[in-house]
Symmetry: C2
Subunit: 361 residues, 2 copies
């Protein structure tokens, strides 16, 4: 998407120097737009570990490029080359142990590389696969955008030129993927087509990804938006100031339960209470085909309480106050209007989901 008027992805090969991978340093956002050069798998692993980049889709793409960088510096001797590849794979997988896409991308690379014969061919295959993984992520998000845009278009028809008000939570934006994002993809598609829209951005405590990332990317792309604290959505919905809620998903059950950033469930309740459509936008890679009860079965990450107690290094409570920091909550399918996937929109139930993903039957 656009930054200062120019189109960017979150990760790409450096122009005139395809032996270097470039990324946006997300730790500097929103106050500084800085591009980092990564030349080795060690640098890529550090970038993932230290969260210079983050987000399910982007982590997968970064791992793919990481293996490619490792292949460049690996020895020409076939046996030593293979050892370098498995070392690189171990290194990358250890950076963020819970990220599903990371392991998937690394395994895809190892598999492709193993199927080639010469080291030169293996290197070419690694490059090709890295680009393919990134393109696949971007294309899935683009498709989510096209499907979701229709929902916005329909609402716009009833608004007589008034903007469609969309509320979103956390950052399921292009910064979390290679391009477009999941929850933001329909927003960008609608905006680029000239449909008048306005986005309410939840700040999303404790890490404030809404304030620092979503507000930044919407602003750079020129999408009208307003930042609010996480407490505000219900009041807005009671007063007709929200037409549609779109959030992302970190894990989706085959029965349509949606695990997403903590606080999503509260917004879904308010949407239901006020008759406002509530959609989760997600690439199908977030489906967990083996789970049917999200609230009981999806493990919820507990993070460091200091993320709650300190904001930008400032202690906001007494020093000795105990705090708890749950990263996600689960919105049950009964509160979800629909799921926007790369294959189209389906209802949050097994029948409807398997209809567009018949290979999972």
């Amino acid at each position: 998407m656009k930054v200062k008027g120019k189109h960017y992805r979150t990760i790409w090969l450096k122009e005139h120097n395809p032996e270097t991978v470039q990324i946006i340093d997300q730790t500097k956002l929103p106050h500084k737009f800085q591009i980092l050069d990564l030349r080795t798998v060690d640098e890529m692993a550090a970038a993932i570990r230290e969260m210079y980049l983050r987000g399910a889709g982007l982590i997968g793409a970064a791992a793919g490029y990481g293996i490619y960088l490792a292949s460049l510096s690996a020895p020409g001797d076939p046996e030593a080359f293979e050892k370098a590849m498995t070392d690189a794979a171990d290194l990358l997988i250890k950076t963020r142990p819970t990220a599903k896409n990371l392991e998937w991308a690394v395994n895809k690379q190892l598999h492709t590389i193993a199927s080639e014969h010469s080291v030169e061919e293996k290197r070419r295959a690694a490059l090709h696969t890295a680009v393919e993984i990134a393109d696949f992520d971007a294309e899935a998000c683009r498709q989510i955008g096209l499907h979701g845009m229709k929902l916005i278009e329909e609402i716009a028809q009833g608004k007589k030129g008034e903007p469609v008000n969309i509320l979103t939570h956390c950052n399921a934006g292009w910064l979390a993927f290679v391009d477009y994002g999941s929850a933001t993809a329909p927003i960008y598609a609608a905006h680029d087509r000239g449909i008048p829209i306005h986005v309410w951005v939840d700040e999303t405590r404790p890490r404030n990804q809404g304030a620092s990332l979503t507000a930044w990317e919407l602003g750079e792309h020129g999408v009208p938006h307003t930042l609010i604290v996480d407490n505000t959505g219900g009041h807005l919905m009671q007063h007709g100031m929200v037409d549609l809620v779109i959030v992302g998903s970190d894990r989706t059950t085959v029965t349509g339960d949606v695990a997403n950033k903590i606080g999503t469930y509260l917004k879904a309740l308010a949407a239901k209470d006020n008759g406002i459509p509530f959609y989760a936008a997600l690439p199908s890679s977030t489906f967990d085909w083996g789970i049917t009860d999200g609230i009981r079965e999806i493990p919820i990450e507990e993070r460091d309480p200091r993320e709650v107690k300190y904001i930008h290094g400032n202690l906001i409570c007494p020093l000795g106050t105990p705090a708890k920091n749950y990263g996600f909550d689960v919105t049950p399918a009964r509160l979800v209007t629909g799921l926007i996937t790369e294959r189209g929109i389906c209802q949050p139930n097994r029948e409807s989901i398997l209809k567009i993903f018949p290979e999972k039957r």
Copy 2:
């Protein structure tokens, strides 16, 4: 309540020097416990205006003491004395234009003073009335505590020694009143009686009164508690970690709608969705007897967007990001299990409310 083991109110006459009023400087909490001496009505007005003290009940008590301080320094000439009193009243009322209790307390003082003859008698009456206003506030909160404690006691009977988990939002604590608080009064009463309890404290963005005030006062009084971000309550309720929600109220309709700090409505929805009792605790002074539809009729204060964009002086979003800052929301009566008042607990409907406040029929 207790601070470092000693009992305090939020406002009192200085020991051995009843011409000085003392308050806790709430702008320094939670990191510093500092007591301020106030000797003139100008100092009291500044303390209210600059929020060295805040909260509906406490503001009323402070205004009462402010008139008393004004009476001490007012000229002995009856006419000049009266002018000094009306000037003081104007000054105090202007400090926080929307605070209902402030005007009520000032008018009560003027009325009492006017009914006395000599300036000496007027001064004595002002002192007497100031103390009376503060005592009345503390006693109302104490009664709320006794009534609300019964709810906690009942739940405790089913928990076999496990603590009763209570969730609260914002600071409806003793720091907002003269003593005990409204939402916290049942909590302190239960704790002091030895009922095992644990309180989930919402941080309450944007001003974080939960983190800076509620966590502090519960900690000082020795009540077990845990700080959470505002997004967390729904997840806790889904997992059986909350037995009871108690919040305060800034304005309550005669039909039982409750206007309280922004975000209260979202917690009420989650409580309803999980079958958890949701109570508002309030002195009857918060009833607005003339309003029947809280969502349509209660005006919602919009505050400075900088409270959303900056935390402790740190900008958390891009500089140019627009933000909105609504101070309150309205929880409709259908989501409220009951109202805990100084006269007892009633259901959130006209019939039940007027049964314990028959003089308002």
